[in-house]
Symmetry: C2
Subunit: 270 residues, 2 copies
């Protein structure tokens, strides 16, 4: 079973398009986690235990771990997911990108060292820089297309031959690079009109959509713009709105409630 | 002293534009390093001891360490450079890029955890994604512009309003993003004509040029295209051609010889 099959199987079985971002920040961690020997892993484990039945994927963002040298806690987190809920795919959010021989090392990092099911990558270096990732045919390769931040348009919105760069990129990904059918694209929830255009161009390729919640994306607009003809095709990520729903000892229960509400809100527009 | 001052001071004092990439690969390491407790650090330390007087910078590429969980050896390598040859700036080649709040974590990773003097970054997410790096005014932020790989043109070569995307990016970097005067750009040695165009657009902004040696770039063409009016403005990187000049116990001496030859070849065209 490849990544997209694993993802969609989980989405259908648990009736959820929700992905929870595991982005621990020491300054925002509940006191009881901060005092633990492995603060990030304790925090993540409690969040996973509280939300596993509600999600179609988890997405740890690696910079949060790397800033503090907490790679071992990221490894422990992914091992914990793979052991306790092996049906839930793990997306390593790393936005890697380099020339071929180095990209191959990044692919080893994501898929072999961390045992992630998918990784986010940056397409600026072109198709051959993505090949070492794409060659892992059972893994997902999630390419940045139209990012959620205000400055995303600086390059992605430039006109190239009558269409924006992000659409040209979507076309390249769908028509030239997707030989192993393991590509997904990132389109921010903050740009529903652009999301609709990407959906038109890429057919059934699934889209990872960050930017709901703290970044202001509108759930209804995202669903209307991005669902594919099967009512699937979206992985809607929320990080801060769920994992920091409460900063006290009840953080896990509050995260569950926030995840439940967002899952149901998403489903109400499907 | 900010990064560019530190770099140029070193270039002038030691009369060298050569940067050596510290990209250890277990499969290519000399046997005597492979058997050590910290194989990558042993390898790097011998290379640093052998080449320090010949280089203007060292550039460890982080994927080589991350693939194997050898972050501690990367930390040890940079600590060793900062202790034994503090005049030599360290460029962490990481090609990071993410939205602002996450980019801030990557900046902490590069500048605080690893204590690098500069980091390579990917501009696909736009200007606001670079701000957290650029805000470290004494550090260097080296933005991918025209990369050395064959697929680099897939996006970077697209026509945007009469010029290629990489030139548009160079203009944005030089004219809009460089408030702290700490930007450099990456232009591959394999594209000397593009290098000349970037030089025209960016004035005295220094350019990091990978792709000499194993990737086939021509030293003379690079120097003619890329030097600024002071005979500076280039950081010419070689990794494999130097660090794997010999695979036996004489690897460090062979690396010194290869570095010496390349430094002198570069200087012969200045």
């Amino acid at each position: 079973m490849n990544f997209i099959e694993k993802l969609e199987s989980r989405q259908q079985k648990n009736n959820t398009l929700l992905c929870v971002g595991l982005d621990p920040d020491m300054a925002r961690l509940p006191q009881l986690c901060r005092a633990a020997a492995e603060p990030f892993f304790q925090f993540n484990r409690a969040l996973i235990d509280a939300t596993a039945d509600l999600v179609c994927a988890y997405k740890p963002q690696i910079a949060h771990y790397a800033a503090l040298g907490a790679e071992a806690e990221l490894e422990a987190t992914i091992r914990y997911i793979n052991r306790t809920c092996p049906d839930i795919p793990v997306i390593l959010d790393a936005k890697r990108g380099d020339i071929g021989s180095t990209a191959a090392k990044y692919a080893v990092e994501a898929f072999e060292r961390y045992q992630a099911d998918a990784v986010t990558v940056n397409p600026y270096l072109g198709g051959d820089s993505l090949t070492p990732f794409l060659d892992y045919a059972d893994k997902g390769v999630i390419i940045l297309c139209r990012t959620s931040n205000p400055g995303g348009a600086d390059l992605q919105g430039l006109d190239v031959g009558g269409e924006a760069l992000y659409l040209k990129l979507a076309r390249l990904a769908a028509n030239s690079w997707n030989k192993n059918h393991n590509i997904l694209l990132v389109v921010g929830a903050t740009w529903p009109r652009e999301l609709a255009r990407v959906r038109e161009v890429v057919g059934a390729i699934p889209l990872l959509v960050p930017g709901i919640g703290a970044q202001g994306g509108d759930v209804k607009a995202v669903l209307q713009a991005g669902l594919d003809s099967r009512g699937l095709g979206l992985v809607i990520n929320s990080s801060r709105g769920i994992i920091y729903a409460d900063s006290g000892s009840g953080f896990a229960a509050a995260a569950r409630l926030a995840a439940l509400e967002l899952r149901d809100l998403i489903n109400s527009f499907r």
